[in-house]
């Protein structure tokens, strides 16, 4: 187990290094830079700007400088927001996205797993059809449609919530529901599929034959195997959900990190792009490792090998 974790950790570190290197150089080959503006600055002012940010040095030098400060945990200053460092922006915004993500994920898990399980044990009944319809609808209707619709109904017509913003506890409700529904849909479908497969297996029949109650059969015997596809899905999904959603954060005016992923690229904010990429890649790698461990724990057929 320890060998497995160590080896995977080292692999991840190498992958992360490759991601950083690729991002660093790809960014520099994109047309336009942090100081590209409609009103052109004079060549002298541009030179001042480049000297200020060290962009006048050769590219390999900038790359080494970046790696050097990265090794000390310093992600550098933001180009777009001069008085904020990338560390500060990430530290300010990740908790917001994580809070929203945690709420949405709880909703998605409870709703998705219950619906998926119900659909599987009541296969081909109206319950199954309703749950499947919900699943399909949830997957096909994008959040930028669901979000404004809920705002229209609950904020504008009923007046229960703010239309957007992130000021009080009530402001969490609508975005968490919209984001939660988006993830609940695939979870319910995966749960249903996984459960159906498990429920048809011999050991379930054996459990039933031994007189176990249906509740016990489902929760004790079937769910453990039936949730395996969900667990696999959750690794990257949790990374995605915790690092925020560009669409939801823009629609609801939430100061999360999700918007920075997209906007930093538009702004050619080199350091902020790299910072968010490192954050996301690191999370994905960490969570995939966790998923592998959890799967081995849930499924005796999986063995962890280095």
């Amino acid at each position: 187990m320890l060998r497995f974790i160590t080896s995977r950790f080292l692999q991840s570190l190498l992958a992360l290094f490759l991601v950083i290197t690729a991002t660093f150089f790809m960014l520099r080959f994109v047309p336009g830079g942090p100081f590209t503006a409609e009103k052109a600055v004079t060549p002298e002012i541009l030179r001042n700007l480049e000297a200020h940010y060290g962009l006048d040095k050769p590219l390999w030098r900038q790359y080494l400088d970046y790696l050097g400060s990265l090794a000390q945990g310093d992600l550098g200053p933001s180009f777009k927001y001069p008085n904020r460092t990338v560390n500060e922006i990430i530290a300010d915004k990740v908790p917001v996205s994580a809070e929203l993500g945690a709420l949405a994920l709880s909703l998605a898990l409870v709703l998705g797993i219950s619906l998926g399980t119900l659909a599987a044990i009541r296969r081909n009944t109206w319950i199954d059809y309703t749950a499947s319809t919900f699943g399909m609808a949830g997957i096909s209707i994008p959040t930028f449609v669901v979000g404004p619709l809920l705002v229209l109904a609950f904020a504008i017509h009923l007046g229960w919530f703010n239309a957007s913003g992130w000021y009080g506890p009530l402001d969490r409700v609508l975005p968490a529901i919209v984001l939660g529904l988006a993830y609940a849909a695939p979870i319910s479908r995966l749960t249903r599929g996984g459960m159906l497969e498990v429920l048809n297996q011999d050991f379930i029949r054996t459990a039933r034959a031994k007189g176990a109650s249906e509740f016990r059969v489902v929760t004790r015997h079937a769910l453990r195997g039936g949730l395996l596809p969900v667990i696999t899905y959750l690794g990257p999904a949790v990374a995605g959900i915790l690092t925020g959603s560009f669409v939801i954060e823009t629609i609801f005016q939430i100061p999360g990190i999700g918007r920075e992923f997209v906007n930093s690229a538009f702004n050619r904010d080199y350091t902020l792009v790299l910072g968010t990429v490192i954050l996301y890649a690191g999370l994905i790698m960490a969570l995939n490792l966790v998923v592998d461990i959890v799967q081995a724990w849930l499924n005796p057929k999986v063995r962890l090998e280095a």
Binding site: A40, H52, W160, Y167, F215, P255, R268
Partner: protein, 546 residues
């Protein structure tokens, strides 16, 4: 089988947890302004959409309109502008201009104070100007000060002794600027934040005199001299400005607090306005304009805006090296239909190159000609009925509004001239880069004035102008431009601009389409507020009705 009810109950419980207790305690709401007790007059709190998160509140190192609106709340320059954009006293109560137009002497008021109580001095201004011109600070708007003797050289590092520039503090309350050439629009240009003072001792404390990115502009250390002071800055959430107790003209300030919301998506902003969270939006989605005009006309505000929407021709690329082709395409657009059916916000069709009645300037020359002439010109250029017309691509930046305008124009050219062009879009910075490197044939563009004077629009087409980007060049035009600033009177200067208009109308380096307006939603409660031609409204005049 107890599982179904249990799970259902769990799911229901969870949903209730989210939906429960949905009271009416909305946090930021325009209504909160009228919610105070019976004796004390209610605090007036204005909630404004402000477009985007400001880059910084150190206004010497930013660019952009949301920043300009904030700067006007927190700072005040030597002069100010009233809502009609007439020059009025700011920190300077009066000023003298020498007969040759080269020396400006500002006499500062005794009661101008920083928000920490210090007096605003002439030295503050001079040191602020030295800072913005310091090469190491790398301020993008430093060129706004280049009218002053030595400023450009200092900014470019050719001059290192700031005492040799034309910025002089004669005594604590007298400031003299010596210009390198007469600049008739100087006072208007000075209402730009590049000309605002900074509190030098605060900057020194943070080592910010030659460095951007320090923390002096955070609320806990921020010092300003404007009608409002900074109370809260929550990035991507809001900026709270409260009435300054030290501002010299505080009696005029009517609103106690302004909350600025950096809302990037116009649709989100519109929903917030509808839910009662905002008194005024920063913009208005095109798709909503007609609906609001029908249902709530009292909430729609459309004002002229000092800018022009046009297409650039790359005059070195075929077929636009031929002025007849440029003229044919220019004549074959039905601008009235475009503004009434496509852009919808009362834009003014543009047949010349400067927004009309800008400080009394109105072009006497206009693009004239009918469709028959357009067809004739195109045939003369070798493309009768559009036959043999080379492949032409129109570049625009990725935005719905630009796409539909381009489609309408593409259709007009196809129908009127038989000319078929293709459209392509690029993401903002790629698009800017394509224009700066002149890697395009025909490109959508816009220009918003930096200051209220026709000069800002003529400056664009100078041969070496950084924003020309068309390869177009005219020695006569350049000569006129150079002579304009030295003209003995405004009339003489405007006459020169008229000659320049004529050159532009004859040669058409760009294709003018319309003059901008600015549409926004605004609560009828908000009084005395509207979009000025530069969208930099002086906040102290705005008021909120109960």
């Amino acid at each position: 089988m107890p599982i179904r009810p249990r799970l259902l109950v769990a799911a229901l419980l969870f949903t209730c947890l989210f939906g429960a207790g949905c009271g009416k305690s909305k946090s930021p709401s325009p209504d909160s302004s009228s919610a105070a007790g019976s004796q004390v007059p209610a605090r007036k709190v204005l909630h404004m959409g402000n477009g985007a998160e400001p880059q910084e509140l150190d206004f010497q190192v930013v660019t952009g309109m949301p920043e300009h609106r904030l700067a006007l709340a927190f700072f005040e320059g030597l002069i100010s502008e009233d809502p009609q954009l007439n020059i009025i006293p700011g920190v300077a109560e009066k000023w003298d201009i020498s007969p040759d137009g080269l020396t400006y002497t500002f006499h500062m008021r005794a009661d101008a104070k920083w928000s920490n109580g210090d007096a605003v001095t002439a030295a503050d201004f001079v040191q602020s100007y030295q800072r913005i011109l310091t090469p190491a600070l790398a301020a993008e708007y430093s060129y706004m000060l280049w009218h002053v003797t030595g400023a450009e050289d200092f900014n470019k590092g050719k001059l290192t002794d700031f005492a040799q520039t034309g910025f002089k503090a004669l005594d604590p309350r007298t400031l003299r600027l010596t210009l390198r050439q007469p600049t008739p629009f100087l006072l208007h240009a000075m209402n730009h934040y590049a000309w605002f003072p900074l509190h030098i001792p605060t900057l020194k404390k943070f080592g910010a005199l030659e460095r951007k990115g320090t923390r002096w502009s955070r609320p806990e250390s921020f010092v300003g001299n404007g009608p409002y002071l900074l109370k809260e800055w929550s990035p991507n959430q809001r900026i709270v400005a409260v009435r300054s107790p030290t501002y010299w003209d505080r009696a005029t300030v009517k609103i106690d607090e302004i909350h600025f919301y950096p809302i990037e998506l116009a649709e989100t902003e519109e929903r917030m306005f509808r839910a009662g969270q905002l008194h005024a939006t920063y913009e208005l989605p095109l798709s909503k304009l007609a609906v609001y005009r029908r249902d709530q006309p009292e909430s729609v505000r459309v004002d002229p805006f000092n800018g022009i929407y046009f297409y650039r021709f790359n005059v070195k690329r075929k077929p636009f090296d031929d002025v007849r082709v440029r003229r044919a395409l220019t004549l074959a657009i039905d601008r009235e239909t475009l503004v009434s059916k496509v852009t919808l916000a009362d834009e003014l069709p543009a047949y010349d190159f400067t927004p009309p009645n800008l400080i009394g300037f109105k072009s006497r020359h206009a693009i004239q000609g009918d469709l028959a002439e357009a067809k004739r010109l195109l045939a003369e250029a070798g493309y009768p009925e559009g036959k043999g017309f080379p492949k032409v691509e129109l570049l625009y930046n990725t935005l719905e509004k630009h796409r539909i305008i381009a489609e309408a124009i593409q259709q007009m050219w196809r129908k009127n001239l038989g000319v078929d062009i293709t459209l392509y879009n690029q993401e903002w910075k790629v698009y800017i880069d394509s224009q700066h490197s002149k890697n395009y044939q025909l490109a959508r563009a816009g220009w918003i004035a930096d200051y209220v004077d026709p000069h800002t629009f003529f400056d664009l087409w100078a041969t070496d102008g950084g924003n020309n980007n068309t390869h177009w060049s005219s020695a006569e035009y350049d000569r006129l431009l150079r002579s304009a600033l030295g003209a003995p009177s405004t009339e003489a200067r405007y006459d020169i601009y008229q000659q320049m208009e004529k050159i532009l109308v004859d040669e058409l380096p760009v294709l003018p389409i319309f003059f901008y307006t600015r549409a926004r939603l605004q609560s009828p409660k908000l009084k005395g507020y509207y979009t000025t031609p530069l969208d930099n409204y002086p906040w102290k005049y705005a008021d909120l009705a109960p």
